[in-house]
C-alpha cells in the first residue's frame, strides 16, 4: 500500500474575480522512501496541491481524497490534522527566514516543537535533542549555534535548521516546497546532498516541489508535471527527461539553454500560462501548443496511459507511442496533427507559428507580427517547432 494516495483532488478559491481553480482533479501516490518531484511554473497549483494535504489552504473549496497511512486527510477536523502536521508529514518551505521566528533562539524553536508534540519531554532533554538535530544536518559547533538567532545564520544554514526541524519528529513524509530556490548553486548542492543522505538514513518519503528541472534531475525518482492545476504528465524521471510525451513537458525541456546549443537561439514556449479564473476550453495548453488539433479545443484530455503499464501517463490527445524527441516520434506527431487539424485549430496553430519568435522569422526583422490576433490575447512571442 502506498504511503500517500491522492485521488481526484480539486481545490478552488472563490475570489472577487471569480472562482480560481487552483487544482483540478490531480491523482498521485508515493511509496515509503521514494522521492516524487512536482514541477510546474508559478500558478500551476503545485504548492496548493501539497498544502491542501495539511489543511493549510484556508478558504479553499476542497474535494477528493488523500489517504495517508490509512487515514483520509481531506475534511479531517483540525484537531486531528494536528497529529499529522509535523509529526507524520513535515514541510520545508522556500524561505527559511520567514519560517523561523526572528525573536527566539534557533535551538529553543526546535525544542519547543518537540515539546509541543511530546508533553512528557523535559526542557533540558528537548534542548539536547535540538543540538543533536542541528549536528545531524551539518551545522558546525551545534551547541553554541543553538543559542543564536535566525538572523545570525546564512541562507544555507537556515535551510539546514528548517530541515532539522522537519526531521525532529521522524516524519514518514517530508514535503519540501522549493527548498533550494533562494540559495546559491554551491549551497544548493550541499542541501540537496543533505536531503538525499538523510532520506537514505531514515527511509522517509520526500515530495520536492520545484520549478527547476535541474533539481528534479538530481533528486527525484518519479516526476509529476503540473500545468494550470492539472497533472499533465506523470512518469519515472528518465521517461520525463528522455521520453517526454506531453508537448508542455517537451517544450519545457527544450526551452532551457544547454551547453550543446550554446550561442544558438533558444526555443521558448509561445505565450504565457492561462488565468486560472478563465481557463481556455479543451486542453489548457492548446493556445501555446505547436501540436494543437481540433479535438484539443473541444475536449480536455484525461491522464492517459502512454507506456509502462500506466506508470507513464500524459494528458494529451497525441497517440501514446509519440514519446521522446527523436525523428520517428516527431513524424508520428506531425502525421496526427495534419490529420486532426482543420478550421479553428489550424488558425490557432498559424497564430503560434506567426509569432515573431517563429524559427523562420529572421531575428533582425523588427516588430514583425506584433500580436497574434484572436487566438491568444496578450500573446508573448515565441514558438517551438
Amino acid at each position: 500500500m502506498s504511503l500517500l494516495e491522492v485521488s481526484d483532488l480539486w481545490v478552488s478559491f472563490p475570489t472577487a474575480d471569480g472562482l480560481v481553480q487552483a487544482v483540478r482533479g490531480v491523482s498521485f501516490s508515493i511509496e515509503p522512501g521514494q522521492t516524487l518531484g512536482i514541477v510546474g511554473e508559478s500558478g500551476s497549483g503545485k504548492t496548493v496541491l501539497t498544502q491542501t494535504l495539511l489543511g493549510l489552504t484556508l478558504g479553499g473549496e476542497v474535494s477528493g481524497r488523500a489517504v495517508f497511512d490509512g487515514t483520509n486527510l481531506i475534511g479531517l477536523p483540525d484537531a486531528q490534522l494536528r497529529r499529522f502536521r509535523g509529526a507524520q508529514i513535515a514541510v520545508i518551505f522556500q524561505d527559511p527566514l520567514t519560517s523561523l521566528h526572528p525573536l527566539f533562539r534557533v535551538g529553543w524553536q526546535i525544542a519547543e516543537m518537540l515539546r509541543a508534540h511530546d508533553r512528557s519531554l523535559s526542557r533540558a532533554r528537548a534542548a539536547d535533542r535540538a543540538v543533536e538535530l542541528l549536528d545531524r544536518v551539518g551545522i558546525p559547533r551545534a551547541r553554541q549555534r543553538a543559542r543564536d538567532y535566525p538572523h545570525q545564520f546564512s541562507g544555507g544554514m537556515r535551510q539546514r535548521v528548517m530541515i532539522a526541524m522537519a526531521l525532529s519528529l521522524q516524519p514518514k513524509l517530508i514535503i519540501a516546497d522549493e527548498p533550494t530556490t533562494a540559495l546559491d548553486a554551491t549551497v544548493q548542492a550541499q542541501i540537496l546532498d543533505l536531503l538525499q543522505r538523510l532520506q537514505a538514513e531514515s527511509g522517509t518519503a520526500l515530495i520536492v516541489i520545484t520549478h527547476d528541472l535541474g533539481v528534479i534531475a538530481d533528486i527525484a525518482d518519479d516526476v509529476l508535471v503540473m500545468y494550470a492545476g492539472r497533472a499533465v504528465e506523470v512518469a519515472g524521471k528518465r521517461d520525463i527527461f528522455y521520453r517526454p510525451h506531453h508537448p508542455y513537458t517537451k517544450a519545457l525541456l527544450e526551452s532551457r539553454p544547454n551547453s550543446s546549443a550554446a550561442g544558438r537561439r533558444l526555443r521558448p514556449i509561445t505565450g504565457q500560462p492561462p488565468s486560472l479564473v478563465r481557463l481556455p476550453p479543451g486542453c489548457p495548453f492548446h493556445p501555446r501548443c505547436q501540436y494543437v488539433m481540433d479535438r484539443c479545443l473541444a475536449e480536455e484530455p484525461p491522464l492517459l496511459t502512454v507506456a509502462n503499464g500506466g506508470a507513464h501517463g500524459s494528458a494529451c490527445w497525441l497517440p501514446g507511442a509519440a514519446t521522446g524527441v527523436g525523428g520517428e516520434a516527431e513524424d508520428m506527431r506531425g502525421r496526427t496533427v495534419t490529420a486532426g487539424r482543420t478550421g479553428k485549430a489550424a488558425r490557432v496553430a498559424a497564430a503560434i507559428a506567426d509569432s515573431p519568435e517563429a524559427p523562420g522569422a529572421a531575428p533582425e526583422a523588427p516588430g514583425a507580427a506584433p500580436e497574434a490576433p484572436g487566438a491568444a490575447p496578450e500573446t508573448e512571442e515565441g514558438v517551438t517547432a
Binding site: D184, T186, D218, A262, P363, P366, E381
Partner: protein, 386 residues
C-alpha cells in the same frame, strides 16, 4: 564620445564603434562600504570589501557574463560601472574617458550610454505610472523627445520588444512578469545606450518565459550592437549569452576568459566547483558527474581570509594558499595559449568558432595550483566526491 544621437528607432547599421576595440575598461576597481559603530557620531569600525581590485574589459557588441555567489560583489561592481555609487579607488574607462566619480553634470551624457535592466520586474516599475510614461521617462529626463514624437518613439519601442503598442496607457499591474520585463527592456533601450547592464534579468521569470526574454536580448544586441554586462547565477544562462565570462569570489576575480574556455576547461577550483554544483536538466549527466561539494559558506567580506580568499573552502588548498595571494594570470598548458580554432578542447561549441576580435580574450586564473586544462569539473583532480 558621439554627440547627440537619434532617439527614435534608427537604421540598424548605426552601430557605434569604439576606438581601440574597447567599450569599457575597468582597472583595479575597489569599492569598500564603511561599517559604522553604534551612536550618533560613530566612526567607521570596519569595511565591507565588496569589490577589491577588479580589472575587466568589454568590447562593443559583446556580452560579458558575471558569475558568482551571493555577496561576491558582482552587483556592486555593476553599480560602480553604471556610476550609481561612487567608487573607492580604480578607474572605469568608458569609451576612452575615466567616468569613475565624475561630478553629476559631467556624468550626465554618460548616463544615457549606460542603462540597466533589473531582476525584479515588479519592484523596478512604478505601479502608479502608466507604461507609456515609464518607457518615455528617459526621453523626458534627457530632453530628447516630447509630445507626439515621444509617444511615437515609445510605441516603436513597445513594438520592438514584443508588447502591443496599444497598451500604452496600461499600468504595470496589468502585465504578466515576462511582459513587465519587456517594459524594463524597452526603458533601457529608449536612449539607444551602448552598454546595458542586465542584473539577473531572467531570474524572477518562469522557465518558459526566460527563453523569450533571452532571445529578445540577443536580437536587440544583433540589431543595435550594444554591449551587455550580464549578471546571473544560472550558469547555463550565462554560458548561453556570454562571449566572455568573469568569475568572482569575495570581491576578486577568480577566473576570466572566453565563455567556452572557462566553462569547458575551468582552471580555478572554485569555477570547477560552481560548474559541478550547477543543476543540469539531464538525469544521466547528474548521476554521472562527481559533484564537488564545497564545505561551509562564503566568508565575510569584512574580514576576508588571508592569501587566496578561496583557500578555507578549497578542496586542494595547500600551505602557500593561505599566505600568498595568487595573481590573475594566464596559466601554462592553457588551450588559449595555443591555436584556438579546431582545438579539440572545445568540440561542438559553435560559439568557439565565432570571431572574437583580433586576439580574443585571454584565459586568466588566480590560483597557485590551477586544474589541468581540459579536465572537466567531474574529472578534475579534486578530492571529495560524494
Amino acid at each position: 564620445m558621439t554627440g547627440v544621437r537619434p532617439t527614435a528607432m534608427p537604421a540598424p547599421d548605426d552601430v557605434p564603434e569604439a576606438p581601440g576595440g574597447e567599450l569599457v575598461r575597468v582597472e583595479n576597481l575597489v569599492k569598500y562600504f564603511p561599517v559604522r559603530g553604534a551612536g550618533l557620531f560613530a566612526h567607521t569600525v570596519a569595511e565591507v570589501r565588496a569589490v577589491d581590485g577588479v580589472t575587466l574589459t568589454l568590447r562593443p557588441g559583446q556580452t560579458l557574463g558575471l558569475v558568482g555567489e551571493t555577496g561576491c560583489g558582482k552587483s556592486t561592481l555593476a553599480r560602480c560601472i553604471a556610476g550609481l555609487i561612487p567608487v573607492t579607488a580604480g578607474r572605469v574607462i568608458f569609451d576612452g574617458r575615466d567616468i569613475a566619480n565624475l561630478p553629476r553634470r559631467a556624468m550626465r551624457p554618460f548616463r544615457r550610454e549606460i542603462q540597466m535592466i533589473f531582476q525584479d520586474p515588479y519592484g523596478s516599475l512604478n505601479p502608479r505610472r502608466r507604461v507609456g510614461a515609464i518607457i518615455g521617462e528617459p526621453f523626458t529626463v534627457h530632453k530628447t523627445a516630447t509630445g507626439a514624437q515621444r509617444k511615437r518613439a515609445v510605441q516603436d519601442l513597445m513594438d520592438r520588444v514584443g508588447l502591443n503598442p496599444e497598451h500604452y496607457n496600461r499600468f504595470p499591474s496589468e502585465f504578466s512578469g515576462g511582459q513587465r520585463q519587456r517594459i524594463g527592456v524597452a526603458r533601457a533601450l529608449a536612449l539607444r545606450p551602448r552598454l546595458i547592464i542586465c542584473d539577473e534579468p531572467v531570474s524572477a521569470l518562469d522557465v518558459s518565459i526566460q527563453a523569450q526574454i533571452l532571445n529578445l536580448l540577443a536580437d536587440l544586441q544583433q540589431e543595435f550592437g550594444m554591449s551587455y554586462l550580464f549578471i546571473a547565477h544560472d550558469l547555463e544562462v550565462v554560458r548561453h549569452v556570454s562571449d566572455q565570462v568573469l568569475v568572482m569570489y569575495l570581491g576578486r576575480v577568480a577566473e576570466t576568459g572566453a565563455a567556452g574556455q572557462v566553462f569547458d576547461s575551468p582552471r580555478h577550483p572554485y569555477t570547477a566547483a560552481l560548474l559541478s554544483a550547477a543543476p543540469a536538466a539531464d538525469p544521466d549527466a547528474a548521476a554521472a558527474r562527481q559533484r564537488i561539494i564545497l564545505t561551509g559558506d562564503v566568508p565575510s567580506p569584512i574580514d576576508p581570509p588571508s592569501g587566496c580568499r578561496f583557500h578555507p573552502r578549497c578542496p586542494i588548498a595547500a600551505e602557500r594558499c593561505s599566505q600568498e595571494e595568487p595573481a590573475l594570470e594566464a596559466k601554462p598548458g592553457d588551450p588559449a595559449l595555443e591555436a584556438k580554432p579546431g582545438n579539440p578542447a572545445h568540440p561542438a561549441d559553435p560559439a568557439a568558432a565565432e570571431p572574437r576580435g583580433p586576439e580574443g580574450p585571454a584565459h586568466l586564473t588566480a590560483c597557485h595550483f590551477p586544474l589541468r586544462a581540459g579536465a572537466l569539473p567531474g574529472q578534475a583532480e579534486v578530492r571529495e566526491p560524494r
